[in-house]
């Protein structure tokens, strides 16, 4: 995943999403230490404060926990909760967008469902 | 919050003097060239001459004194002091730790140091000229006084310093706030015009007749006055980089 510096999505949100992505992909295991804000800053060439904000979002969602003086670690149930949240939030939103776009392009409901099924088949 | 750098004013001025003394040394080389030129021009005639006619004998003394070298050095000091305050020198101060006050003080100290070196250069020029003379005119050479007295040495330093101080003041006046600029032009006009209108008013005779040390003392006091004004003006000046 890439950070798009010029995209309209705020960078700190992109950072938070990237970290979640890393957790889902098992590149960050449960109870493993996550990148510090300075490491993230260097990694993505962004301001450390912005990186810190991204971490704070995850901390507030309790996907990370803080050990005083040691840094932040992935919460034990982080991966499950992210998947759950993604399903509810992101998938819903994506579905919304697909439906809206289908309406704009005058695609009928049957056609849309068929398309989704076809895509599922292909990516399996 | 990280700790701030605390450098004493003295350390900064000291460092500035150290670098300025090095960086401005081209000024000293210009003095050497000036003195070589004037030394060559005055090689055969000396600074002054006196003639005596007795019967059918005409005796001509060409006197080789320090006068011309001193006048050249003093004028040089005046001009380089003005140059010190010009843009090309001034802007360089902004690249290092300095305030206008510190750079003015550093300029003054460099000027004093250079006055001292200028006297050494002046004496070197003088002795080189005489050395040349001693080779060419061996038979008509009269050595009245070869070694300069300490009091004359001090007069030379103080008079070069005085001219430098006036030049520096001049330069600082023209880059100071506009009120100072205007008043200095008016003052300058008065100084130039007054001896022409009241020629009797300006009489330098009593000054010249003062003993050497008193004369240098007087020069030093005027120099200090000029330097103080320089620092005062510099303190009020903005940086102009145009």
């Amino acid at each position: 995943m890439h950070i798009h510096l010029d995209s309209t999505t705020p960078i700190y949100i992109q950072i938070a999403e990237w970290l979640q992505h890393e957790i889902i992909a098992n590149r960050l295991q449960a109870d493993e230490k996550v990148y510090s804000q300075y490491q993230l800053a260097e990694l993505f060439n962004i301001n450390p404060a912005t990186a810190g904000k991204g971490l704070t979002i995850l901390l507030e969602e309790q996907l990370l926990y803080k050990k005083r003086g040691l840094g932040m670690f992935v919460a034990t149930d982080a991966k499950d909760r992210i998947l759950l949240k993604r399903r509810s939030e992101i998938l819903t939103k994506m579905a919304q967008e697909i439906v809206l776009e289908a309406q704009r392009l005058l695609v009928s409901d049957e056609e849309l469902l068929a398309l989704i099924q076809k895509t599922q088949e292909e990516l399996k | 919050m990280q700790s701030l750098t605390n450098m004493s004013f003295k350390t900064i001025v000291k460092k500035q003097v150290k670098w300025k003394a090095k960086l401005y040394s081209s000024a000293l080389s210009s003095l050497i060239i000036l003195q070589v030129i004037f030394g060559a021009l005055l090689f055969s005639s000396g600074s002054a001459s006196s003639g005596h006619g007795r019967g059918n004998l005409n005796v001509q003394f060409s006197i080789y004194s320090l006068d011309m070298f001193l006048i050249i050095s003093a004028l040089w000091a005046f001009i380089i002091a003005i140059l010190f305050t010009t843009k090309s020198y001034r802007i360089d101060d902004l690249s290092i730790i300095s305030s206008r006050t510190s750079s003015a003080i550093a300029n003054i100290l460099v000027l004093i140091l250079y006055s001292f070196i200028a006297v050494l250069i002046m004496l070197a020029s003088y002795y080189i000229q005489i050395f040349g003379l001693s080779l060419m005119e061996k038979d008509s050479l009269i050595i009245d006084k070869l070694i300069i007295t300490p009091s004359i040495f001090i007069v030379c330093i103080s008079s070069i310093c005085l001219f430098g101080a006036i030049g520096l003041l001049f330069g600082y006046c023209f880059q100071g706030p506009s009120i100072i600029k205007i008043s200095s032009i008016v003052l300058l006009a008065i100084v130039i015009i007054s001896p022409i209108i009241f020629p009797d008013f300006v009489n330098l005779q009593p000054f010249i007749q003062l003993p050497d040390l008193l004369l240098s003392g007087f020069y030093v006091i005027v120099s200090i006055l000029c330097f103080t004004l320089c620092i005062w003006i510099a303190d009020k000046s903005e940086v102009s980089r145009k």
């Binding site: - | 040394s25 004998l57 080789y64 250069i121 061996k138 009269i142 022409i196 300006v202």
Partner: protein, 240 residues
């Protein structure tokens, strides 16, 4: 007013020259800046001062000039001497004519009992004296040139005064002072002339460094007793 103008002019010309030279130097230095590093400059300046120092050392060890400046005590002694010469001369006493001051002697013969003397002295201050000398055989004349000290500004210039021409022609004794001659001295005074000049008026007046007795050079014509000197110009004085 004129004084001030002269002063201003004499200051203005060096100022202009200095400005012109500095301006040219700045233009030139803009081109040479790239290879004139600070190191070169400081070495150059130090070397220049060192050369000056060597020049001074050379001058103080080997630069002894042949011409000495007389000290005050020497001046006093000479002044006394000259005063005595003057006194004796005014008394027509020949005892001041010592060998010390003798510079040149001419010995010539002449015919007859009288010697016509023609003096071509123009504007010189040559003093001509006549002395009877019993030791000289008849028909001979001895002309001696004496040079007494002449001091200008503490320098004895008596050696620089040129000798007269003395010769016999058409049985006449001709004495010709040489035409004007000029002597140039280079005086080294490591001080400030402006100050010295202005102060001399008050401070240095009681010590005259110039002693120039008008009669510092003498021609003495010696003839045997009884010889007549024909002095049509009337400039010869007779000593006892």
């Amino acid at each position: 007013m004129t004084n001030i103008t002269v002063l201003l002019l004499s200051l203005l010309i060096p100022i202009l020259l200095v400005i012109v030279v500095l301006f040219v130097l700045r233009k030139v230095s803009n081109k040479t800046k790239n290879f004139w590093t600070l190191k070169h400059l400081s070495i150059g300046i130090t070397a220049y001062i060192a050369v000056g120092l060597f020049a001074l050392l050379y001058l103080s060890f080997f630069g002894d000039s042949s011409i000495q400046v007389l000290s005050k005590s020497e001046l006093k002694k000479i002044e006394k001497n000259i005063e005595s010469i003057q006194k004796y001369d005014q008394e027509y006493n020949s005892s001041f004519l010592t060998d010390n001051y003798k510079k040149k002697t001419w010995e010539t013969d002449f015919l007859g009992g009288a010697l016509p003397v023609i003096i071509n002295n123009a504007d010189s201050n040559l003093n001509i004296r006549h002395l009877n000398n019993d030791n000289i055989p008849a028909g001979k004349v001895l002309v001696t040139y004496y040079q007494f000290p002449a001091i200008i500004d503490g320098i004895d210039i008596s050696d620089k005064i040129s000798l007269p021409n003395v010769y016999m022609s058409q049985n006449q004794l001709w004495i010709e002072a040489l035409s004007r001659n000029e002597v140039n001295f280079h005086r080294i005074k490591a001080s400030l002339g402006i100050l010295d000049f202005n102060r001399k008026v008050d401070l240095d007046d009681d010590y005259p460094s110039t002693i120039f007795y008008l009669s510092s050079n003498f021609i003495v014509i010696e003839t045997p007793r009884g010889t007549d000197i024909e002095d049509s110009q009337g400039v010869i004085q007779y000593l006892r």
